[in-house]
């Protein structure tokens, strides 16, 4: 969920930009020139994935896939999500520029945790580990992002307590659906292009 412009206090906006700048710097340092086209293609794939609405009962939710992005990209997930959210901001006016730092951190930091938790599991490549990695990455990355958004809203004031609870609840179905999708994607990658899973650094 994108936090809009004008809601968070200045110190939070500035610290969000600070943390995102550090993450992006470290991510770019690990990104060699030859890997830039790959990072951009994956960024574009995740951008398109975020436009896909999958049905859920009477409504639909859009995919985030930041957990999967984390597993495949490692630290590069920071610049990739920064770029993706910047494009969403200037093309669709989703989110905004002053909150871009906070929004990027909310998505990328849990994705990075998912990377460290899951990369070992994914490399073992047997069915059980892939299922665990799929569920773990979706829950850590989606619920992590939900918790960060909720905590930031609580920082704004007590008035946002109910909103923060709604935000947490809204992330739960997305995490469940993304677990299922992650598992199938990981199985698919293992079957048809196992070099991708082996190539994870």
């Amino acid at each position: 969920m994108h936090i809009s412009e004008g809601i968070l206090p200045g110190w939070l906006l500035v610290s969000g930009w600070g943390l995102t700048a550090v993450g992006t710097y470290l991510g770019l340092r690990k990104l060699e020139n030859r890997e830039i086209p790959l990072a951009a293609l994956l960024a574009a794939t995740f951008f398109i994935a975020s436009l896909i609405h999958v049905p859920l009962g009477p409504t639909s939710v859009h995919l985030v896939l930041n957990g999967l992005a984390g597993i495949l990209l490692g630290w590069t997930v920071f610049p990739v999500i920064l770029v993706g959210l910047f494009l969403q901001a200037i093309l669709f006016q989703f989110g905004g520029i002053t909150v871009l730092g906070v929004n990027t951190f909310n998505m990328a930091f849990p994705a990075l945790i998912a990377y460290y938790l899951c990369k070992g599991l994914v490399k073992k490549k047997d069915a059980k580990n892939l299922v665990i990695a799929g569920v773990l990455s979706a829950f850590v990355a989606i619920m992590g992002a939900g918790i960060l958004v909720a905590v930031e809203l609580l920082f704004v004031g007590e008035a946002f307590k109910k909103t923060a609870e709604f935000v947490m609840l809204a992330h739960l179905p997305v995490a469940i659906i993304e677990s299922i999708i992650n598992i199938f994607i990981l199985f698919f990658l293992q079957k048809s292009a196992s070099e991708i899973l082996e190539g994870i650094k």
Partner: protein, 247 residues
């Protein structure tokens, strides 16, 4: 997925994107950090003047803003129903908070001022010239390249996605809440990832063949004109008056 306003020609389109980015950042931060309603209202004339300069096309482009603002509408509604204050209106089991409404509207105003400015200042240049301007404003080289490439590949990936979706629909696929639907989406995405992986290497090799050394040469260059200077000066003056005067 080109910028909504970039195809038309108005005064704002002729301003140097570097100037527009700086002016936008100045106002965006200024508005975001505004503590009270009155000060937020003072920025409306600036937004209004830019809207008038852009003309009726801008109003058309503002329509999608309503849909883009879902998070904000959600916030305003939850403020009205959950903000604890002595000023409450009661309708049966519903209690509405007037202070909550005020606070919600304040956030709504700030947010939309920034979004409209973003639309007017950043969407009146082509996406590529915005990236180019960011390069001049010392954004790290690798990040600029990532921006260029990602924006370029969004179309490629979107095309491939559309083809695969069409193929799935031809075989009678209808998205529903079912494991089968999620599996189909997962396989389509998995396919996109695999194709991206295989394509990346070819692209890098093609770039090397054309003499890529880690930086892009650019063909068109920016130059400051009197218009840019006047626009920058007037905007900065407006900003300083609002920030320093404290009516």
């Amino acid at each position: 997925m080109e910028n909504k306003l970039s195809q038309r020609q108005t005064l704002l389109h002729e301003i140097d994107p570097r100037v527009k980015i700086i002016v936008f950042l100045l106002f965006a931060w200024g508005i975001a950090l505004t503590p009270d309603f009155k000060e937020a209202l003072l920025f409306i004339p600036f937004v209004g003047i830019l809207l008038i300069v852009t003309g009726k096309d801008a109003l058309k482009a503002l329509k999608p803003l309503l849909f883009a603002n879902t998070f904000l509408i959600f916030i305003v509604l939850s403020m009205i129903f959950t903000y604890e204050s002595p000023n409450m209106l009661h309708f049966g089991f519903l209690s509405l908070s007037i202070d909550g409404l005020k606070y919600g509207l304040f956030l709504f105003l700030k947010s939309n001022e920034i979004l409209i400015l973003m639309l007017l200042l950043l969407s009146t240049s082509s996406v590529f010239s915005i990236f180019h301007a960011l390069h001049h404003l010392k954004l790290p080289e690798q990040l600029t390249q990532l921006l260029f490439f990602t924006y370029r590949y969004i179309y490629t990936i979107k095309d491939e996605y559309n083809i695969m979706m069409k193929a799935a629909k031809c075989r009678g696929f209808k998205p529903k809440t079912s494991i089968f639907t999620y599996k189909t989406f997962a396989y389509i995405l998995g396919n996109l990832l695999v194709r991206s992986y295989r394509k990346a290497d070819k692209i890098y090799k093609a770039m090397l063949c054309r003499g890529f050394k880690g930086a892009f040469p650019v063909y068109s260059h920016f130059s400051f004109s009197t218009k840019d200077i006047i626009f920058a000066l007037l905007s900065t003056m407006f900003f300083l008056v609002v920030e320093l005067w404290k009516f």
